[in-house]
């Protein structure tokens, strides 16, 4: 059973070279590349599991949906979790 993720309590600001993110709970600040920023925005809009995120992302940035994308997205989500920027909903 794959985890459903949601974004933490965040403030964000997007610029051309990336998205700066402030975590209102932990107080940490991060600079994410545009793709990671896009993933975070997707989860902020609606909690989802890794597969759903990959599909939505593929649609938005015009990429092929394939296993490699799924794998990359799953890794990214783990990384975002370790940074405290997202959390599993079934905690």
């Amino acid at each position: 059973m794959t985890a459903v993720w949601r974004a933490a309590n965040l403030l964000t600001k997007s610029w051309q070279d990336g998205v700066v993110v402030y975590n209102l709970d932990s107080g940490s600040t991060h600079l994410l590349n545009p793709i990671a920023g896009q993933v975070l925005k997707l989860l902020a809009d609606a909690p989802a599991d890794a597969t759903t995120v990959a599909r939505r992302l593929a649609g938005q940035i015009d990429l092929d949906s394939d296993l490699e994308l799924d794998y990359n997205v799953a890794s990214l989500l783990n990384h975002l979790d370790s940074l405290g920027l997202i959390e599993p909903v079934t905690a």
């Binding site: 403030l11 997007s14 610029w15 070279d17 700066v20 402030y22 600040t29 600079l31």
Partner: protein, 308 residues
Amino acid sequence: MKVSQIEAGDLRRSLSKSGLRIRTGPFICHVQTPFENIADGVQLFYKDFNCESEGFADFHLKLVRPRNLHRMWRPQVSCYLNDDSPFSPLPSDQAFAVFESLLNWSIYTTTYNYLIIHGASVERNGLAAILPAPPGSGKSTLCAALVSRGWRLLTDELTLVSPASGLISALARPISLKNNSIDVLQDYAPEEVFGPKIYNTIKGTIAHMGPPSDSVSRMHEAAVPGWLIFPKYQAGASTSVTPLPKGQAFMRLSSGLVNYPVLGAQGFEALTQLIDRTDCFNFTYSNLDEAIAWFGALQPPWRDAVER
């Protein structure tokens, strides 16, 4: 009443007895000290500053002779901020430099209603350039040179940005120059006011350059930020400028923002607004004339009309 209106003898006496309350930007600094070299420094560099009468002061600074054995052969200065002593005693000939450091320390450690950027800022034609300053960046040299060529001095060390208005509040205090910069500036701007060299400080040799009277008299005019310029002095380098992407500018600036972690969400919002409204650059230089010319040719930042 201005400091210059106090007669020299009275100034020394006031400083050692009840102290003097000097207004610098948003702050009133109450200083008490028997040291003549501090009195001389105040008279020289703070002559155009206003003194407040008895009343409220934001910081209470005391610089005194410590009662230890050192005073027999090597006089020292001990300093106190609101009765706590943040630094160890230092040789008394450094007393004026210690006073300046103590005042910086006071602002850093108690002020959270402003963003405090460690760096200089100067203003011309209604727009300010902020020069954030890691060590070795040469920001004071650049700041002093700009000021000598007509830019208004807002601050040399602590740039205060109001989260509410986004504007910079000026302190207009003396500029602190180190080692080689002292001779460089005395050559470059001989008409400016320089204090005596202070030797063997932890930063090497220090001397101060006085703030122009105009900068002091306009101390209460807040300034609109226009440019964020990360300076780097590199001997022999030609003047080179690279635009800095905003995300990177944000991360670099937040690490030079002394109180950013404490300000939380408000700090984040204020910082994103600051980055949004300014043009950001990396700036490498070695020749002051070229550097000044480049600054003089700066265009107002391009404001993106479309909400990003």
